[in-house]
Structures are given as C-alpha cells and as structure tokens.
C-alpha cells in the first residue's frame, strides 16, 4: 500500500512537471506580448524602448526561456509564485485570497451533489419504473445537458429578480455575515453542482441496478434481511465504486465550472482570477492557477484510487 501511494505520488509529480512545461511553453510560444498589453492598457501610453527593456528586466522576461522556467520552478519550491505583471501584486497573496472562495463554493457543491446524487440514484434504482424513477431520471438527463451559466441566469431572473427570494449576486465571507453569505451561495452552489448531481444520479442508478441483480443480494433477501439492512450494508458500498470515480472526475469539472459560475454571479474566486488573467496574458497568475488546479485534480484522483480498496477489499494495491 505504501509503495503504491509513493509510486503514484511520484507519477503525480511527473504529471505536474509536464503540466508546468506545457502551460509555460503555450503561454510563451503563442502570439501576444504581456508587456505590450500592459503598456497599451496603462494610462501613460508613452513608454520608450528603454522603459520597456527595464520592465522586461524587472519581470525577468529578458532571460532565456529555460532560465525563466527555472526561475519560476525555483520560486514555487520556496512557496513564491511570482509577481503579476498586470495587477502588480504578489501572486501568492492573490491566490491565497481567491482560492478559499472557490473552495468554499466547490466543496459545498461537491458534498451536496454527492449526497443528493447518491440518494436520488438509489431511489430510482430501488423503485425502478415507479414515478420517482421517471421524474428523477428525466431531471438527471436534463441536468447533465443544461449549460450551467444559463441555469444561473434563469435562477437569477426568477428567484432573485422576480421573486426577490435571494440576493442577485456577489460573495460575502461566512465569517463576516453568515446568513447573507449562505443566501448568496444558494444559486451558485446549485449551478456548480448541477452537473455532478445529475451525473451521480445517473451513475448510482445504473450501478445499483447492476448490483441488485447479483446473487449475494438474492441471498440476503432469501435469509430474510430487512430492506434497510440490504441497502445499507450490501448495495450501497458495492454500488459506490463507479460513483466515487465520477466524483473524482468532478473535481476538475468544478474548477472548470467555477470560471463560468463565478463570472455569472460576480464572485471573486479563483475562476474569475484565472479568466481575467487569461484575458490580460498575465503569465504568472495563469501558470500558478493551472498548477494549483492540476495538483488538486491529481491528488483527488489518487484519493479516489485509494478509496476503492475501502469500498471493495478485494481490490489490492500491489
């Protein structure tokens, strides 16, 4: 087990190095000079060649590509993510400010979609063909297809603008004003989790339907166990393996979705930061943002793979 985890972690590090190289090269080899954009946007507008060279030197952009890469990686190892050209801010500080907001949103939506997705899926499978099955299956099929940003706009229109039930948009820290914060989060968390919720419902339904056909479930019924015991002890644990796989994949989706949802609801999280940085070719922020996201995804996948052993002791890591 330990060897397995260590090997996977090493593989993960390799993957992350490839990601950093990939992002680094893509950002620099594709057209577009961040300094030109920066200069074009600033009010002064009268930058001489000399000023440009000075700026270039200041941000280390006059060095060769391999040196720039080494500088960046060296910084990461020391916990420094560099300085944003555009916002003139320390990227570490920016990220530390924005990541918790996205995590707040993302973790809430993952937990809620996980609980409700498995619950709805189980109901559908155990009451196959009855009305809850039909209703939830249709809703789940709609849920995996609805564009999240559009659902967000619909919710804003009906719940916030027409009915006035919830604040339109924005983000407040739960430590400042818990009730406002929670009310502001209802719609974004729903939109961010909608796809996962629907996908998990579908997956739980189909994997439960597979499990209930197994011999050991028939045996459990035959020996007179109550339905609750069969579902809790025999069905759920076995049906959850493919569900956990999906949950792992959703970690990436949450970050992707956060870019859209944070834009719709005007939430100053990691997604918005990344989007703005991409627009202004802000190398340092994009690089660090992508690195953080992919590290999270790699760790989540490792956690998923390890958890298989708990759900099904027959799975061994050798």
């Amino acid at each position: 087990m330990t060897t397995y985890v260590v090997r996977r972690l090493l593989q993960g590090v390799l993957v992350l190095i490839i990601v950093t190289l990939f992002v680094f090269l893509v950002m620099r080899l594709l057209p577009g000079d961040p300094l030109m954009l920066y200069v074009a946007q600033s009010e002064l507008g009268s930058y001489t060649e000399e000023d440009m060279a000075k700026l270039r030197h200041e941000y280390g952009l006059d060095k060769s590509l391999p040196m720039q890469y080494i500088d960046w990686m060296g910084g990461i190892l020391q916990g420094r993510l560099g300085t944003s050209i555009f916002l003139k801010e320390n990227v570490t500080r920016l990220v530390a400010e924005r990541v918790p907001i996205t995590l707040h949103l993302g973790i809430l939506s993952m937990i809620l979609s996980g609980i409700f997705g498995v619950f709805f899926g189980l109901i559908c499978a155990l009451r196959r063909g009855k009305w809850p099955d039909t209703v939830f299956t249709v809703l789940a099929n709609i849920g995996i297809t609805a564009p999240s940003f559009w659902v967000g706009i619909l919710l804003i229109y009906f719940l916030a603008l027409k009915l006035g039930l919830l604040p339109v948009y924005g983000y407040t820290s739960p430590f400042t004003d818990f009730s406002l914060s929670s009310r502001q989060l209802v719609m974004p968390v729903f939109c961010l989790g909608l796809f996962s919720l629907a996908a998990l419902t579908r997956q739980t339904r189909s994997s439960t339907l597979e499990i209930v056909r197994q011999d050991y479930i028939r045996t459990a019924w035959a020996k007179g166990l109550r339905e609750r015991i069969i579902v809790l002890r025999h069905i759920i644990k076995n049906a959850l393996i493919p569900v956990v796989t999906i949950l792992g994949i959703q970690v990436g989706h949450v970050f992707g979705g956060a870019v859209l949802i944070e834009t719709v609801f005007n939430i100053p999280g990691m997604g918005r930061l990344l989007r703005d940085a991409v627009f202004s070719h802000d190398y340092q922020i994009v690089q660090s943002g992508v690195l953080i996201i992919s590290a999270t995804v790699v760790l989540a996948n490792l956690a998923v793979d390890i958890s298989y052993g708990w759900f099904d002791p027959r799975i061994r890591y050798n």
Partner: protein, 302 residues
C-alpha cells in the same frame, strides 16, 4: 419476435436453410428505437442538422442586418423572439447559430478523434517508452479541466471559429487517447492478433484493420457524447467572450449579450440557452441509446 419471422428478401437460400438469419443491424435498430428518449434525442439532432443546413431559407430575417429603429423589441408576431440591442432578429440569429455549433462540434471532435485514436493505438500497440510518453502526456492534459485548456489556448490564439476548434480539439483529446489505449490493450491479448503477427502482418495493418474495428462501438458512443460536450464547451467559451467573435452568431455569446438586458428582455438570453440545451440533450440521449443497443453485454437481454 417480429424480426425472426420475416423472410430476408434476397438472402442466400442455402444459408437460410442452415441457420436462422439474424441481422445484427436490425437488432441494434430495434433496441435503439425501443426507448422513447432515444427517439426524442434523434429527432432533436435531426432538427438541429436540418436547421443548420437550411438556415438561409428558415430564418425570417437576415441575422446580421441591424435595424436601429427596432432595438430590444419584445417577442411579437413580426419578431417571434424579439430583437437584440442592435435591432437584429433573435430567432434568425439562433437559427444561424446552429451552423456555428455544428461546424465547431463536428470538426473539433472529428480532428481530435483522428489524432487521439491514432495516439491511443500507437501507445497500446508499441508499449514501452512510447506508451509511457503518450500516457504521461495524456495524464497531464487530463489533470486540467477541458474548459481551462480551451480558455488558455483560445485567448492566446484569439477568437474565431478555427481557433476555437483548435482549442476545443486539444482540450478534448486526452479522454480519446486513454479510452482507445485501454481498449486496444485488451484486444491485443486476443489470439487473432498473435496469429496476424506470426504471419507477418505489418504493425499499421494490425492496428487499423484488426484492433481498431473491434473497438468501434464504444468509440462511436464516445464521439456522439463528445459532440454534445464540445458544443456545450464552445457555448461556455463564447459566453466568457473568448470564443466566437461578433458579429458571427453563436449561442453562448448570445446568452452573454442578453444577460445585460435580463430585467427587460429575458428572452434574449433564455432562448439561445434553451437551444444549446436541446442540442446537447439530443446528443446525450443518442449516445445513451447507441450504448444500450451496441453493448455486447446486453446482447440477448431484449
């Protein structure tokens, strides 16, 4: 069983005498059309394709023609879905938007499928260092969400259909490599591959004529589903303002443009979003249907 009672017209009589003819294609069609949601999906896709092809005849107005005297009109008989801030007819723009979606969907998925399947086959077939390099590269691509890869590439290349296709193609390639590779590794174990190798069949011939066709059904399902998700991702990019640049009609950017007028003209962002949803729903249901009808594990279950 309606099918086994039918006499296949023009079938070889000698063969009929030996075995009862059982058509695989018919079985697939029967299962596919047996579930109403699949049919709904197919109908949605047909409507989508027909709309895209015949857009100039179906659209009541020129989607690019501005009419400044007719801005932000509410839905009426003249303009069924109203007009946008530049006085353009929303319905016509949605009809033309189907062309953008379909072109991007088909080209991005097609191109990434060709490259992804070849890379997957090569990785599985040659193994060793080739496998390690291709798969680590795939892992890296998979660890970054598709939308973010596409966002970075599209923003650097700039908007426009070709660049969005490149961005979404790169963003969606990793899943195809991994799936192809996984299936090819299983099929490689079969005796007929060893047999082929022993009589000196070339590597490429083995890969393309012996391994690939055996992976085809699941790949077809994957491609169908991906058409939906790429169209969804394109809408997301355009919504963020990076995808398709104005004045080209794209559903995602229409939703974004309409968002500013949500209070007065909600239909401006509701309608194109609904169009995206219907099309993606169509492809998902069709993919589900294909999986149910092509899956050998379910063979004989109906």
């Amino acid at each position: 069983m309606a099918i086994s009672n039918e006499t296949p017209v023009g079938a070889d009589a000698a063969q009929l005498a030996v075995t009862k003819h059982y058509s695989e294609t018919r079985r697939v069609i029967r299962i596919f059309f047996g579930r109403s949601l699949n049919v709904v999906g197919l109908v949605f896709i047909l409507i989508f394709v027909i709309t895209a092809i015949f857009a100039p005849w179906l659209a009541p107005y020129d989607p690019y023609k501005m009419d400044l005297g007719n801005q932000l009109k509410q839905p009426s008989l003249g303009h069924l879905l109203g007009t946008d801030p530049l006085g353009r007819d929303t319905l016509s723009r949605i009809i033309y938007g189907s062309r953008t979606s379909i072109v991007i969907g088909i080209v991005a998925v097609g191109a990434s499928a060709v490259i992804g399947f070849i890379l997957g086959l090569v990785a599985a077939h040659f193994g060793g260092i080739t496998f390690a390099i291709i798969m680590r590269f795939t892992d890296a691509l998979m660890s970054v969400p598709m939308l973010i890869i596409a966002l970075i590439i599209a923003s650097l290349l700039g908007g426009g259909i070709v660049n969005v296709i490149i961005a979404l193609g790169v963003g969606s390639i990793a899943g195809k490599i991994r799936m192809m590779c996984g299936m090819a590794l299983t099929i490689k174990q079969n005796d007929y591959i060893t047999a082929g190798r022993s009589i000196g069949v070339s590597d490429w011939r083995l890969m393309l004529l012996h391994i690939f066709p055996n992976c085809f059904p699941p790949l077809l399902v994957m491609i169908t589903m991906q058409l939906g998700s790429v169209i969804l991702a394109e809408a997301g990019l355009s919504f963020l303002g990076i995808g398709i640049v104005p004045p080209t009609c794209a559903w995602g950017s229409m939703v974004n443009d309409g968002y500013k007028y949500l209070l007065t003209n909600p239909v401006l962002s509701f309608a194109p979003g609904l169009a995206i949803m219907i099309v993606v729903f169509g492809f998902n249901m069709m993919g589900d249907g294909l999986r149910d009808s092509l899956d050998p594990k379910l063979r004989g279950a109906f």
